[in-house]
Symmetry: C2
Subunit: 435 residues, 2 copies
């Protein structure tokens, strides 16, 4: 089957990320989608080809309108951002019968009602997973995964810049202005930070989430928005004294009287998961009447995390264009004829770190013998904890670095033969994870 | 349009929950699905009608095979569990051209390859979101939301019983056997706890996750499984001393040599999100090459959380049966003609708790005046923090209980008129959330 042909509008951070993810993961993605996906055209005023290996193979124009009108394009991916000409381009693409994928929250929050109506009239798809929560598939979760529920409320940390600033203020006792300057230097905040720190970006996203949760039209102008620029280091400190953290929260709830939609600095009890979402990460907590609380966490911005959501939408559209509806999504994520027979590793071949607990006799040289055995097997030690003697027995706890389990089995067998070691060695595996 | 007709196999915990969620949320669900969904038949040996209001309106049989063969049934929902007769019922339903929704992880992990092939041959859908992570839409997230990524690894707390036991052991220094007995008394653990505490249930789920992540056939027999029954209170304690928590983790990773699939007790650094998923809650952390880490958290078991996933699958199937493919999922989750004009509340009408910071002069009676104003407005105080005097100024921090914002505005205006209060009152809203 011919590949699906994508026209990419914008080769900035997210556009470049989308180009790179689709290029790098082309084989894996077509195993999932059941069809190749090719960016055949792109539009950008200026861009850096150095960061886009393979870009020389496609036609890059500075005329985005020529892409949305091109009869050879199946899906238009709008990653220019802002209201105009993004809106005109999206409507023109729809008018030309193209499916549209966009990451543009401002566009959807303000003009989504009009864009969706146009798409329905033309029978094309408009997908916007990347508009909220970057790479977190939160729109799919609410729209499909939680479809059984009456959503009661949603609370989200949905602006990474603001969360980075508040995290730094708390961790280091710094002032808002000071951290903002650093965020700008690091590239987390724009030269004009208003959209991020005054909550406008978060309000765009909250507007979308409220519509998905409650089945109401998009109403950005009714979303209350208060920024974080007036939060002081002392408020952050006092909140901590009381057992709270200050987060810039988007919050929406349905009450008997109506729907609350509001973005503002918010104290959250410090033991809540949302209170521990730090730095540039995002998370959304959804309370459903059947499921209870569910939380979705991940990178809310950045080139490849946002591209992850954009490409997921492209795969969604491709699956509908390609498969019979009932087999739109393959049971095991990949097409049945694209499953592989990769070997499953036996435990002796897996690699992990270990916690070991030994029961040693309290006499000299025991630890030297144990560590020699580990060293001989190439196992390095991260920490040793020797507890107080209990009778003549000393519990010794050892944390190791990562090693192949087969070697660890040999080391444990050797340790258990030592006279001064009583009983079996307790072994629990350790994973450090990264979030 | 005629409602979709569902035949429900099983009226136990999950079957009952599914009946209740579909009944209670019928209106909201049909606004999302674009069509009514009705349970017209059920099969159960015995059940308690007291907990199932409305069950008297449908035909309940003790012959499940008569339901899967009934020509008037569109979707068969298998919530009996176990291998047999669940497998025979599912295959018979498929042979009769029914779509199938199941929560049965044992069935999918062991017989999924065969069941999916039969479904493809018959052109029917088989959905199994509830098989992993209860109400968390983790299968949809991996299969669709993260379709752009090469998944690098996944780590999950995917058995609530085991996590409850380990959480109690850590929080209270208790022994495994002791906590297991309590879990059984609370109904979190079965009389025969083997499937839960020896990791078999988690291994079923991990087998499914590994296939979704890496595009390999289901291979339950190759998943390494080690339970938590040998974890001692002292290991939990020593792990804590070293800055770790012990969790029963399902872990799968693709390496150059092959795929690791393993379920075993695991030390995790205490600051990681997974280390803080406590009690019966579940969570899955997925590392994708584009998106980085994303985490999905929620109730992994229980009547209505599991029903949430079952009903989401029923909605998915109904959407495909009903809509043209491109409009399978409405843009705003609800059908365009089912959006409502619920009012958006002005901020004066919203209800929340507040953090107030006042700058008071250090003289008698000031606090009495402030608390009198709050009391007059019906605002009750949760905590007051009076900091040391800085010159003649004292910062006073007040946490209030929930109140309507309009009243708080009036109270703040009144407080600001007090002679002994300098400058504006700082006001930050407080949300307590629940996870």
């Amino acid at each position: 089957m011919e590949p699906v042909r994508v026209g990419l509008l914008g080769l900035g951070t997210v556009g470049g990320g989308t180009f790179n993810v689709l290029t790098r993961n082309a084989a894996e993605i077509s195993r999932r989608a059941g069809r190749g996906i090719e960016i055949t055209r792109a539009a950008a005023r200026d861009y850096d080809p150095a960061g886009l290996p393979g870009i020389e193979k496609i036609s890059v124009s500075d005329d985005a309108f020529s892409v949305v009108k091109d009869p050879d394009i199946d899906i238009v991916v709008e990653l220019i951002g802002g209201y105009s000409p993004a809106k005109e381009l999206v409507l023109e693409a729809i008018a030309n019968g193209k499916h549209v994928v966009t990451a543009n929250k401002a566009l959807i929050a303000l003009h989504g009602n009009e864009i969706f109506a146009a798409a329905r009239d033309q029978g094309v798809m408009v997908a916007f997973e990347a508009a909220v929560g970057g790479g977190i598939p939160i729109i799919k979760a609410v729209r499909e995964g939680l479809a059984a529920n009456q959503v009661e409320w949603m609370a989200g940390i949905i602006n990474g810049t603001g969360n980075f600033i508040l995290t730094e203020m708390r961790d280091k006792g710094r002032n808002f202005d000071d951290v903002l300057q650093e965020a700008q230097a690091l590239g987390y905040a724009e030269a004009d930070p208003t959209f991020n720190v005054e909550g406008i970006d978060a309000a765009h996203k909250l507007t979308i989430l409220a519509s998905l949760a409650f089945g109401i039209p998009l109403q950005f102008d009714k979303t209350f928005t208060e920024g974080i620029s007036k939060i002081t280091a002392e408020d952050v400190h006092y909140a901590g004294d009381l057992g709270y953290r200050i987060k810039h929260l988007g919050f929406t709830r349905r009450t008997a009287e109506g729907v609350e939609m509001r973005v503002h600095p918010t104290l959250i009890p410090e033991r809540r998961l949302l209170a521990n979402v730090d730095g540039v990460m995002n998370a959304v907590l959804v309370q459903g009447d059947a499921v209870g609380p569910t939380l979705y966490y991940g990178a809310g911005a950045g080139a490849e995390p946002t591209a992850s959501a954009v490409v997921a939408d492209i795969v969604d559209v491709t699956r509908v264009m390609t498969a019979d509806p009932g087999n739109r999504v393959p049971h095991l994520a990949f097409q049945p004829d694209a499953l592989t027979d990769e070997p499953i590793l036996p435990m002796a071949a897996i690699e992990t770190a270990y916690y070991l607990r030994l029961c040693a006799e309290d006499r000299p040289g025991v630890l030297a013998n144990v560590t020699r055995i580990l060293g001989d097997k190439g196992i390095s030690i991260e920490a040793i904890l020797q507890k107080e003697a209990d009778d003549a027995q000393v519990p010794v706890i050892i944390l190791t670095h990562v090693v192949q389990e087969g070697r660890m089995n040999e080391a444990i067998a050797a340790i258990e033969t030592l006279d001064a070691i009583n009983g079996a060695v307790t072994r629990i595996r350790v994973e450090h994870l990264n979030a």
